[in-house]
Structure formats: C-alpha cells, structure tokens
C-alpha cells in the first residue's frame, strides 16, 4: 500500500521527517506513476460502492450502511427507518420509448430523490427500477411523511408521452425492540412495498406500527353527513326565517346531497 506523507497522522509524519535522510526520494517519473495509481485506486473504490448510471450508492454500500445503522439503533435506542421504492409501469416506458429514455427517467428519479431527501439520508439504486433509502435516526412517523412526499415528487416528473409512471413505496422502522437483523429489516420494507403494489400502485405502505397511520384515508361521505346534520339545524333554526341562505352553505349542502 502506498501512503502519502501528508496523509499520515502528525506524530508519524514528524518521525518520518526526522529520518528524512534515510528515506528514498522517488524521482518525478515514479512520483507521477504513484499519483496515477492513487487516482485509479480511488476511482475503482468509488466504482465498487456506487451505481454507474445514476451515481447513487449501490446495493453493496447499502448493505454495509444498513448494518451500521442497525448497530447505532441498538446502541442509542433511537429508531432508524428505511424505504423501498419501486417505479410503477417502468417496463412500459422502456418498451414504448426505448432504453435511452428509460435511463433518462432513472436519472431524473435519482436527482429527484437527492433533492427531496435530507443530507443525512442514504439513497441507493437497489435494482433496475428499484431504489432504497436509509433514514438514520428517523422514526416511522417522519419516514412516512418523507415517503409520501417522494411518491408525489416522482409522480410529478414530466414525461413526453402520457404514461402512468409513478412510485410505490414500502416503509419500515428498526427500533431498539426490533428482532432480527438487516435481512428482516429489508424484508419488512419489501413486504410493505409488495402491499403497496398489490393495492393498486402509486402509494405508500408501512410495515408494522404505528397502526394509526396504516389506514390513511380522506374524509368520507358518511363523516361529511354526520357533520352536515348540524348545518341543517343551523339553516333551519337560525337562518331560514331571518335571512336568505349563505352561498357557501347552500352550495356545500347541494354538493353533499348529489354524491350520496
């Protein structure tokens, strides 16, 4: 292994300089070669850890980092989260517009992920159109919010052709109480992703707790009716005799009636 003098820790460097007369000084030619080798070495190392197309981290780095995060969670008790992102109908894009456009879309997705995530999050290309994100020191609540934002941002990436490209996301949390290792952690996120896919794609699913966030739905007609009962009372008791109906109230009621 070749190490440059200025990369050494201070005591080592001082010791070395004290014996400078004993150290062989390479000529310029050799020095150039060493620098060249050093550069190639760094390049090769980055190749083993990043994805060639998108420049994101690769699965290898992901697996290494996941172990580190799990160890951190066990040590500090602070939960970590991860998400698995799979592009919906990506094959359709490749088939209809060609692989060049397909790759371009993957690049856009990669930059969208980088933009939307925090500096501490680790984004990896997990497979063809699959991405994985490690969110250190993030619980499922926060991870779920981040995932929802990513899902929206990906769905908004412009496309030349009208294709239903979107993202399904599975989110999982590793807490101090979690059993199993990284395999189990990845499996949980995978299962959540599978559920998101099976449930109609373009959505976020969560593994395990909190149960309360699992069923995210908008205000239902039934709830609206339950609320509207009071307005009926108000309209009859307060307004009807004294003054004409307020615009928003009457249109709101009409809308509710039509749909139910």
């Amino acid at each position: 292994m070749i190490t440059f003098v200025d990369e050494l820790p201070e005591p080592d460097r001082d010791a070395l300089l004290a014996r400078a007369h004993l150290v062989m000084v390479p000529d310029d030619d050799l020095l150039d070669k060493i620098v060249q080798l050093k550069k190639e070495n760094n390049h090769l190392r980055s190749l083993t850890l990043t994805d060639a197309l998108t420049g994101l981290y690769n699965t290898r780095f992901f697996t290494m980092q996941l172990e580190i995060e799990i160890a951190r969670t066990r040590r500090t008790g602070q939960p970590s989260s991860m998400m698995m992102i799979d592009l919906d109908n990506f094959k359709l894009l490749n088939d209809t517009m060609g692989h060049v456009h397909g790759n371009r879309f993957l690049l856009k997705t990669a930059s969208t992920l980088r933009e939307q995530l925090r500096p501490t999050d680790i984004v990896c290309r997990y497979g063809g159109d699959e991405f994985a994100v490690i969110m250190p020191a993030t619980d499922l609540f926060d991870a779920a919010r981040i995932a929802t934002r990513l899902q929206q941002a990906i769905a908004e990436i412009p496309l030349k052709k009208l294709l239903p490209i979107s993202a399904s996301i599975g989110v999982a949390e590793y807490s101090a109480e979690s059993k199993g290792g990284s395999d189990e952690f990845v499996h949980q996120a995978d299962m959540a992703l599978y559920k998101a896919k099976k449930n109609g794609k373009n959505q976020v699913f969560y593994a395990g707790k909190p149960e309360k966030t699992v069923e995210l739905d908008s205000v239902t007609q039934e709830e609206k009716w339950s609320l509207a009962r009071s307005s009926k009372w108000r309209l009859e008791q307060v307004f009807s005799a004294a003054q004409p109906h307020n615009g928003t109230d009457s249109s709101g009621r009409a809308g509710l009636k039509k749909r139910s």
């Binding site: 309360k212 739905d217 039934e222 339950s226 109230d249």
Partner: protein, 253 residues
C-alpha cells in the same frame, strides 16, 4: 407549573378566514394581562397578517431567520398588549412552501426560546400543508377554530383526522367563532364532537364560542386588540371565558 416547560398551543382551522389570528392575538393579550409571559408566533409563512392586525411593522420576520441568517431572538418584538411576537412573512413565494429542512430549521430555532415563556401560541396558516402539520406537531395542544359555515366544519374535521392519522394526535380543543348565540356554539361543537367520537374514537374539548359582534371587525380595522381596547364587548367577554379555559390546562399539565 414547571418554569421550564411552557404550554405550547397551536391555533389551526383547516379553512381560512375563520378567525385564527383574531383568536391568537386576543388570547395572547388576555393571558399577558393575567401576568403570564406569552409568545405569539405567526407561523403562516405564505400570507402572514398578525403584524397587520396589531398595527406593527416588524423589522425582522421568520423569513430573515430562515434565509437571512438573523437569530430568532432578534425577531422577537414586544407588543403594546403585553405579549411578545415573532412575525411571519407575507408574499414571499419561497416561504409559502418552505422545504422540509427549512421547516425543521424554524422548529429548531424556536425550541430554545420556549423556556422563557409560560405560553407559546402558534398561529398556523390555513390548509393542511406539511408546514401547518409540522407546527401543529410542535405544539402540545391544538386549538381548532371554526365558524358556522359547513365548509369550516368539514375542513376542521379534515385537519383533526389528518393529525390523528399521521401523528396519532387525539387531543384537540375547539373554539366556535362568530356564533349568533352561545347555544348555537354548543350545537356546532356537539356535531363535530359526535362525528369525532363516532368515526375516530375520541372526544374533543370545548373551549367556548365567540359571539358575532360588530366590535370585532371594528377593532380589526382600527388595528386594536379587542379584548384590551373594548373589554366590555360581548366578544371580549367570550374571549375572557376561553382564556380561563386555557388557563385550566396549567393544572392538568
């Protein structure tokens, strides 16, 4: 009450124009009158107007804290009504939808100044954007303001449901603004309360109603705090009752 932990309450509504800022300002003034140390933060970063309501021209706002490198303490303005104010920004596009990191930055900047107060009131914007939800999350108590319009009722319920589903919040206090009678206020509250119990499985707390009163728009035009300038008005008396309800939180803390 522990000196170190203030009561942090957000004032939210879902629908705009139901009187969030009016409630925040008057509540802050009345709490200050009770010798409490109060901070009101205008968290409506897109279209803030608490400074206008108070007739102030703040030299620094939350915008300067986020983008200009000003410290949060510099942005604190004392008001005539006796409480401190941190103004929001209005008409700044970047602030209307700040990035997640910026929201975190504001939250992190606010936290260290909280211990200097007994009460912190966060006036959030309308809607259920990420920013509004995050500020509601920062507060321990969420005050929901609504009025007699059906749309404000459904929007308030939507806000409660989102907060419950995403953040598992199940403790909300309701104020019904501009009612004809006290009875109407109770009736409107009972409807949203019943719906909450039935569909979400938890009750709401009723803080009270504010009677529709000509003194309210008059005070806003004059840029006065109603509860201070016209304490004998009906709406001011209602605000008094609500303030007492808020003070009762101290014992349950």
């Amino acid at each position: 009450m522990d000196e170190q932990i203030p009561i942090i309450a957000s004032v939210a509504s879902g629908k705009g124009g139901v009187g969030k800022t009016f409630v925040t300002v008057n509540l802050a003034a009345l709490l200050a009158k009770k010798k409490k140390r109060v901070l009101a933060v205008d968290c409506d970063l897109g279209l803030a107007n608490m400074d206008i309501m108070l007739g102030l021209d703040p030299p620094l706002t939350l915008k300067d804290v986020v983008f200009g490198g000003a410290t949060i303490r510099d942005a604190i303005i004392p008001t005539k009504a006796g409480f401190d104010l941190i103004a929001g920004s209005s008409g700044v596009k970047e602030m209307a939808q700040p990035l997640y990191e910026k929201i975190q930055l504001i939250k992190d900047a606010l936290r260290p100044i909280f211990p200097s107060y007994d009460y912190v009131l966060l006036d959030t914007g309308a809607g259920i954007s990420e920013m509004v939800l995050q500020f509601n999350l920062l507060a321990y108590r969420n005050i929901i303001v609504l009025n007699r319009e059906l749309t404000s009722l459904t929007d308030a319920y939507a806000m409660i449901k989102v907060m419950y589903q995403i953040f598992a919040r199940d403790c909300f206090s309701v104020i019904v603004n501009s009612t004809a009678t006290e009875k109407e206020g109770r009736k409107i509250f009972s409807q949203i309360d019943t719906t909450c119990r039935k569909f979400l499985g938890f009750p709401l707390e009723y803080l009270g109603s504010i009677t529709s009163d000509q003194a309210v728009p008059r005070s806003i035009i004059r840029q006065e705090v109603l509860a201070i300038s016209t304490p004998q008005s009906l709406a001011s008396k209602d605000c008094d009752c609500i303030t007492q309800g808020v003070c009762s939180w101290e014992t349950s803390y």
